[in-house]
Symmetry: C2
């Protein structure tokens, strides 16, 4: 039986912190005091320091010499930037998934689409969100592009804080479903161009709505 792989403590802490920040357990601009984090995660301060350096490089936190680290508040324009960059990569992933994907992957996609449909008819936002993630994940797996995986992983950790704003927009799930269906269809019929186009369309509309949501928030004084 192959041991569940060791994984360095530092790597682990980076992942935990990344997740925590992405989930909003630390608010933007919140100070991240090394000693506190060390205690909270029951590790040495050195590990926290290392994790912060990694997250700094990823853009999730900012560190100023002798002034410590804080959660980086991504600006509105930057959020859009990130969404656009994600779009560029996921469009490529959709293409590669079409070209390199296996039958099992295509079957998975179709199943996920079904679940999505159910989520929409039942107005189950949580289920929909879950299916959404599953679909994108399956496409990444089919594409088998580890580089793209890593980048998307990082980009999404920036976006999760924001996407709930979009998902909750009235009528969004229904529109999103149609877009997803188009992607699944293209991938399953082996039309790589169409798959890329469909994904591009999907994420373009996501980016547009994100932009609107941001504007609205700014106006409405949150």
């Amino acid at each position: 039986m192959p041991m569940p792989r060791p994984a360095l403590a530092e790597t682990d802490i980076s992942a935990q912190l990344r997740e925590a920040i992405a989930r909003g357990q630390f608010s933007p601009n919140e100070r991240l005091v090394e000693a506190e984090l060390a205690e909270r995660y029951s590790v040495n301060r050195a590990h926290i320091r290392t994790a912060l350096a990694v997250l700094d490089r990823e853009g999730l936190v900012v560190r100023l010499p002798h002034r410590g680290a804080h959660v980086r508040a991504i600006s509105d324009t930057e959020a859009i930037e990130i969404a656009e960059t994600r779009l560029a990569i996921e469009a490529m992933v959709a293409r590669q998934a079409t070209l390199r994907g296996d039958a099992k992957g295509r079957a998975s996609l179709r199943q996920i689409e079904k679940d999505m449909r159910r989520a929409v008819t039942q107005s189950d936002a949580a289920l929909y969100s879950q299916c959404n993630a599953a679909l994108h994940r399956e496409l990444q797996r089919m594409a088998g592009n580890a580089t793209a995986d890593r980048i998307l992983n990082t980009l999404k950790s920036h976006l999760v804080r924001l996407q709930y704003r979009v998902i909750l927009l009235p009528g969004r799930p229904r529109a999103s479903l149609a877009e997803h269906a188009a992607i699944v269809k293209a991938v399953c019929t082996g039309d790589a161009d169409a798959a890329e186009r469909a994904m591009r369309k999907h994420l373009t509309s996501f980016a547009r709505l994100l932009k609107q949501a941001i504007e609205a928030t700014r106006m409405g004084g949150f």
Copy 2:
């Protein structure tokens, strides 16, 4: 007068190591012993450790528990993967540079193109390579997409070890020049679609040649 910003030692060491690995000062699979690096860069072992963690996350090195770090040897398929991912992002950057670039940037591009032409007529490979980097850098600046910048920076650090193979191909500079000229023209005339297409074409041919160069190397032994 704004101080040239402090920059943490750790961040600095990460950058130095990244550069060194990218330049091939450490060969693939070479062991990276913390104590040795600490001495070479005149810093504490803790700094090296942190830097290695960052580079691990970036995919430049691999670390195994209790067995240390070594330069990650990127496989052939992965090199192509990286080139394709780069393509996806730079195509977007070209588009954004067209839409958001300023007149000064466009003037720069035209100047760089001139220098490139000179490099080709003089068969000055070093100059050409320099112009090539300058052109892509200027496009990134014009696009003003910090997220894309960071990602491209990382991706390129993986590719530099390989690109000399492509640049040295007979006739490559001349073909590359035409592709670059098309990009500059599209960006300067404000045709974003054309700019994206031109960049895509340019990097597609780069990826194709990289693939060929890799195949050739594999055949030719060594």
